[in-house]
């Protein structure tokens, strides 16, 4: 995203006043542009000034090595106020942060909100946006954040829904994430020897260990830009025909393809890792979902249903 130039030009002189002797590269990074572009901006500002446009009226800059300082500001001492859209985006985000229990220190956020509101002039309306998480997540969020703050490893009891198992694992916490409305612990899992995302509402017990968290250098943070659910080669694909009463499945789980049907149902293409998980889902839907593909999955659902009927 290239930010428009004029707002940057109007902010640049006040920025340099607030950061005397800043490195040009640092200024470029702070504005989110390349160094070359920032130098062009500085050259342009050098031509600007006040009526009269004599030596004392123009913006003046002094360069030393790779740093820059403003020596004449031509009266451009403060940045322009935040627009309504800018103030909204920031204040609503802050309020939303404060609403997520355990994620950040709520008191700190409230102080920041009050100061920014005072500076932009006029408090806007409260509680426009809220981000809610479940009660189970709340409990784990606090414990995980404490471990991150103290930099210690954790032993967690974790429920893996895809395999329907609960197991204890020792992990080296890396980040606390809130993605697509759910909280996750991103950590190096010592038994899997890989970076894993653990859903906070599936962590049943947290025990902080005395040893420090030490993810290996090969443990890279998960790239969240493409969303959480990316196709993995080990995943299998099923095509389900959902009737109207089971149509919600296509919204609740990530699906690759949806073909709407006239009766209010839909055919969906879903990825899954564990056969038993998919059988449980379809079996529980009791005929509201039919497996179109693969046929082995259809046979497995039939088999489980018959066994259940025979045992009851």
């Amino acid at each position: 995203m290239t930010a428009p130039r004029l707002p940057r030009l109007l902010s640049l002189v006040p920025y340099l006043l607030a950061h005397p002797g800043v490195r040009v590269a640092q200024a470029a990074a702070d504005f989110g542009v390349g160094e070359k572009q920032l130098r062009r901006d500085l050259e342009l500002l050098w031509m600007c000034g006040l009526p009269g446009y004599g030596p004392g009226d123009l913006v003046d800059l002094s360069f030393t090595g790779d740093t820059v300082t403003v020596t004449e500001d031509a009266g451009m001492r403060r940045p322009l106020r935040l627009t309504t859209a800018e103030a909204t985006a920031l204040l609503v985000a802050l309020r939303a942060l404060a609403e997520v229990p355990g994620m950040v220190d709520t008191e700190v956020v409230r102080r920041a909100v009050a100061k920014i509101e005072a500076a932009v002039g006029g408090a806007d309306r409260p509680a426009a946006v809220a981000v809610g998480i479940g009660a189970r997540e709340e409990a784990a969020t606090g414990a995980v954040r404490a471990a991150l703050d103290s930099g210690r490893a954790l032993r967690i009891r974790y429920y893996t829904a895809s395999r329907d198992v609960v197991a204890d694992r020792t992990v080296d916490p890396m980040r606390l994430l809130l993605v697509e409305g759910r909280g996750y612990l991103e950590a190096w899992c010592r038994s899997a020897e890989a970076v894993r995302l653990f859903r906070l509402d599936r962590i049943d017990r947290v025990e902080e260990l005395t040893e420090p968290a030490a993810p290996p250098p090969s443990a890279l943070p998960t790239d969240l830009s493409a969303g959480l659910f990316r196709p993995a080669p080990e995943q299998r694909v099923a095509v389900l025909r959902l009737n109207a009463q089971a149509r919600w499945v296509g919204e609740y789980y990530p699906v690759d393809e949806v073909v709407e049907q006239d009766d209010g149902g839909a055919d969906v293409r879903m990825r899954f890792t564990d056969d038993a998980w998919m059988v449980r889902l379809v079996l529980g839907l009791g005929g509201r979902a039919r497996v179109l593909e693969p046929d082995s999955l259809r046979a497995a659902v039939l088999d489980r249903a018959r066994q259940a009927i025979a045992a009851s």
């Binding site: 006040p14 103030a87 809220a130 809610g132 329907d164 697509e180 249903a305 025979a310 045992a311």
Partner: protein
Amino acid sequence: MPGVSSARAERLVNLVLCLLSTRQYLSADRIRTTVPGYADAPTDEAFFRMFERDKAELRDLGVPLETGRLSAFDAVDGYRIARHDYELGDIDLAPDEAAAVALAGRLWDGPELAGAAHRALVKLRAAGVEVDERAGAGVEPRVRATEPAFAPLLAAVQTGRVVTFTHRPHPSAEPRLRTVEPWGVVSWRGRWYLVGHDRDRDDVRCFRVSRIGVPVEASGPAGKVVALAGVDLVGLVRRSAGPPPVTGSARVWVASGRALGLRRVGRVLGPRAHDGRPGEELELELRGRETVARWVAGHGPDVAVLDPPELAAAVGRIWAAAAAAHIEPVPVGGS
């Protein structure tokens, strides 16, 4: 250079500096002769076109351009920028507050809000606030808001205006027109909901934002809509979109080492054998028989409902229906 050419950018910066430095209103003619760049306009018409465009651009950026006359003797309107309205006030953030602001600045996942938040951070930095983008490392909250209706709904909530939109109760349902006094937008389990007073039904309602069509029309004066005092927006959404309330309890047998997910939501009462197989007896909260029956039935022969009989019957019906639906492969193109 995309957007503004260098010559135009330079002219606009000079125009802002000039109007900031004057207490008097400067007429367009005066600006034409004073501010570098305007003298290039070959005709009066070309100048006015240029000047109109520049004024519009500054106003779009939020520059408070004032129009007026200082005295009755001024023949035409002039322009100035009141420094007090232009400049961002002093902000003194403690390091932990600045870290929270940095976190908020990257909360949004979606172009519109993310862009606006980034521009806000740039201005805060220019005001001397040290907002370190890497601050708050270890915590990474992201909220996606890409639904087309999100921005207009948020704007309506912020300004307190009534909204009218089309809404589908289900993805395949016919859209219906709704008029709502919007109280707030809530993210719950990764989905956005609009919460407000539905005028047509005269009741509080939650609407999935992804099922609200655009355009969203705002009407009436700003500030007209006021949320009920002390209203718990998240609580309203949780009650509307979450599992139904508890209506009783059920006892279920689960085979040893199986149905771990079911055990997590229930309470293990003790060991119990069923049909010669070892296992445990579990107590489950009943929340709408449909949902619990679905959870239980998915585990097939690893579970058996002990009580109540209605739940046992419902689970039995699910198994029978699942078996009937899967006896034969569905022919391609058939239904």
